[in-house]
Amino acid sequence: MTTVKHGFPWNHLIGFVLSILLTLFAVFIAFETDFSKTVIMWVIGTLAIFQALIQLFMFMHITEGKEGMLNVINIIYSIFLALVIVFGSIWVLTSGHSAIH
């Protein structure tokens, strides 16, 4: 049985507060500033990635356990796949004659 006591969950609390703040910040950027749409998308997209990282590292403890390294490789590979699927599909389907807009 584990004997180590874990103290106050600062990690979780900080992660939670950060994610709330990042969400509000994204809303602020989106509606209260007059950046161009492209800039807004880049900024809020980056904020989303930060939030995802907070979940992964502060809540899901991705690096924990014997397979921490493998977990990280697995997630990086999946992100690579996600980028290929998203940007690949958009590129293929919206350039050239196949675009139906």
Binding site: E67, L70, Y77, S78, L81, V84, I85, G88, S89, W91, V92, L93, S95, G96, H97, S98, I100
Partner: protein, 648 residues
């Protein structure tokens, strides 16, 4: 819906099959009852979680599906053997090439390879089972139920008929009403879930359960390729899951993912299908590469040439395989830059593949080659597959592909890849690992008939297709007129397919003959092999290894034999933990099948009611805290003493 809409009627061929299926089922049930084997079937096979038995069931199902797909192929060959034949009409021809393609890829190639992986991988890495034995059984039953669901379409409700690619808009409700294509969407969905689970299972097995000392670079080649295949499965199958879900929604629930008029995009289907479909090709071909590597190393009596470059090329192929999908639809109207980029990535795949070909050739060089059947298949693979590969590079050039696209040239190409790459490999694997499963070898003599008939028949069948293709015959044509200069080639090709079928018959006869007459006293290492699966008894005991072996180098068993370290000490024996049988996998499989069937017919109330079955299965599974059992040392001792003289 009236009964004659439910059953397919009006075609004598189909009526004959309906009667045959009915009689076979009654016959089987009667036979099992007569032999009083129900209990045995249930406790030894239906509820088993033993990877070896699951593997055998996969292989058995795969052979059956090969038969079904092969009959489809022969019927197509018969129909096009002469101009203007009316053996099959257009509709029937469409149905047959569709079921042929789907069955061959998803219900023949996949289960055969996954079956052999199941039998071999845990043994080859010195493990007692896969990481999640119950999940493994579930994967099998999902596959099996899906295969049955798909196969029943031609007698109940009607076959899918929009090709194995089922492109929209053709595959939509508007152009393909009826339930045929629902079978496609739903059966493949069920099979896909099972396959995804297999992928996860084998990754974890290979990562976490290797024998002590077996580091990454000491893993046998087949283990490597199976690992990479599993990774590609996990990467690619979810895409297909989504694509099939869209298809189901469009067909059953009236959404407009793929209908242009309502803002859908049929090209989205093509894009998603091939995002999965191309990796799928590598999923089936990579384990085959691994099997050839094992067989060639064993029968050349040398270690695999360029092991490291082999590993890197497999990983490279996995990586590139996700980046080439557009080469299946260059003619869709993509921008020039899209086609250019995908031409390049496609051609790049030829590099790691070429590396592998040369590695096999260099392994053979100066080897003391033994021409066993497994080796013959591997040797025949190299030139035949190279033809497939080289024509593939021709197709990879987008500009040239405008000429080849959707012609018989393409059909010839992918059969030259898939038949040597998958079927030859499965044959090689079966001859090689057959003793491991059943304790006797398949006859080498009958095997020679099988080999020569099949290889010659294969080349006779598909070589002519390159030429009719270049002569302008497009694929999926059910008939053609005289005087196009095709009939000579196609007649020739039809004869070839009969020769190939004779080869398959020789295999079946070989299995029958060997079951009855082949000698049983072949020892544990009949091929003088190199890897761990041969370090235990043949056939493998249910606990695989009495003591988990320790690995110090590549080809560990070869090393152990050289050093005389194959023995076992009594003091090393400890009780072995085993997983218990479970009814939930087969139950869940059947439940998925029932829900699937109702969905195919769009009987939603019944589907919802019967999904309670799935829920029961899942809940029962969650509450199952069975921890397995232990095999006592005495039992291990007895079983080990039975085959090895050297238990000290």
């Amino acid at each position: 819906m009236s009964l004659d809409e439910f059953f397919v009627t009006g075609d004598p061929l189909i009526l004959a099959s309906q009667i045959a299926i009915g009689l076979t089922m009654i016959g089987l049930i009667a036979l099992v009852t007569y032999l009083k084997r129900w209990k045995w079937l249930w406790s030894e096979w239906f509820t088993t979680v033993d990877h070896k038995k699951i593997g055998i069931m996969y292989i058995l199902a795969g052979v059956l599906m090969f038969f079904r797909g092969g009959v489809d192929g022969l019927m197509m060959k018969a129909q096009t053997s002469r101009p203007n034949l009316e053996f099959l009409d257009a509709q029937h021809y469409d149905e047959i090439f569709t079921t042929h393609g789907v069955i061959m890829i998803l219900f023949m190639a996949m289960p055969m390879l996954i079956g052999i992986m199941n039998v071999v991988i845990p043994l080859q890495i010195g493990a007692r089972d896969v990481a999640f034995p119950k999940l493994n059984a579930l994967s099998f039953w999902l596959f099996f139920v899906a295969a049955m669901l798909f196969n029943v379409s031609f007698v109940i409700g009607g076959s899918p008929d929009a090709g194995w690619t089922s492109y929209f808009p053709l595959a939509g409700k508007e152009f393909t009403p009826g339930v045929g294509n629902n079978y496609y969407a739903i059966a493949l969905q069920i099979a896909g879930i099972g396959t995804l689970a297999t992928g996860i299972n084998f990754i974890v097995t290979i990562v976490k359960m290797r024998a002590p000392g077996m580091t990454w670079m000491k893993m046998p080649m087949f283990t490597w390729t199976s690992l990479v295949t599993s990774i590609i499965i996990v990467a690619a199958f979810p895409i297909f899951t989504v694509a099939l879900a869209y298809m189901t929604l469009d067909r059953l629930f009236g959404t407009h993912f793929f209908t242009v008029a309502a803002g859908g995009d049929p090209m989205l289907w093509l894009n998603l299908f091939w995002l999965w479909g191309h990796p799928e090709v590598y999923i089936v071909v990579l384990p085959a590469f691994g099997m050839f590597s094992e067989v060639i190393a064993t029968f050349a009596r040398k270690n695999l040439y360029g092991y490291k470059s082999m590993v890197f090329s497999v990983v490279g192929i996995a990586f590139l395989s996700m980046l080439v999908w557009v080469h299946h639809f260059y003619t869709m109207g993509n921008s020039a830059s899209v086609n250019t980029v995908f031409s390049l990535t496609t051609m790049m795949i030829a590099i790691p593949t070429g590396v592998k070909i040369f590695n096999w050739l260099f392994t053979l060089r100066k080897g003391r080659i033994e021409f066993s059947n497994a080796m013959l298949w591997s040797l025949a693979f190299i030139p035949c597959f190279t033809i497939g590969g080289v024509t593939g590079v021709m197709l990879a050039m987008a500009a040239a592909d405008y000429q080849y696209h959707n012609t018989m040239f393409l059909v010839a190409h992918f059969h030259y890849v898939l038949i040597p790459g998958v079927v030859f490999a499965v044959f090689a694997g079966l001859y090689y690992w057959w003793p491991k499963m059943f304790g006797f070898k398949l006859s080498e003599k009958i095997g020679k008939w099988h080999f020569w008939l099949f290889v010659i028949g294969f080349n006779l069948t598909f070589m002519p297709m390159f030429f009719v293709g270049l002569d302008g015959m497009s694929r999926r044509m059910y008939t053609y007129s005289e005087g196009l200069g095709w009939e000579g080639w196609l007649g020739f090709s039809a004869v070839g397919s009969i020769v190939m079928a004779a080869g398959f018959a020789a295999l079946c006869y070989n299995i029958y003959w060997s079951f009855r007459y082949a000698p049983r006293d072949i020892g544990n290492d009949p091929w003088n092999a190199r890897t761990l699966e041969w370090a235990t008894a043949t056939p493998a005991p249910h606990y695989n290894f009495a003591k988990i072996p320790e690995v110090t180098r590549l080809d560990p068993y070869w090393d152990m034999k050289k050093k005389g370290e194959t023995g076992l000490k009594k003091s090393d024996l400890k009780p072995v933990h085993m997983p218990s049988n479970s009814w939930t996998p087969i139950f869940l499989g059947v439940a998925f099948g029932v829900v699937g069937f109702f969905l195919v017919f769009e009987w939603f109330t019944l589907a919802i009611i019967s999904s309670i079955g799935i829920i029961i299965g899942l809940v029962a599974n969650s509450f199952d805290y069975d921890e397995g059992y232990h095999i006592p040392v005495e039992e291990l001792e007895e079983e080990e003493r039975a085959w090895r003289g050297d238990l000290k």
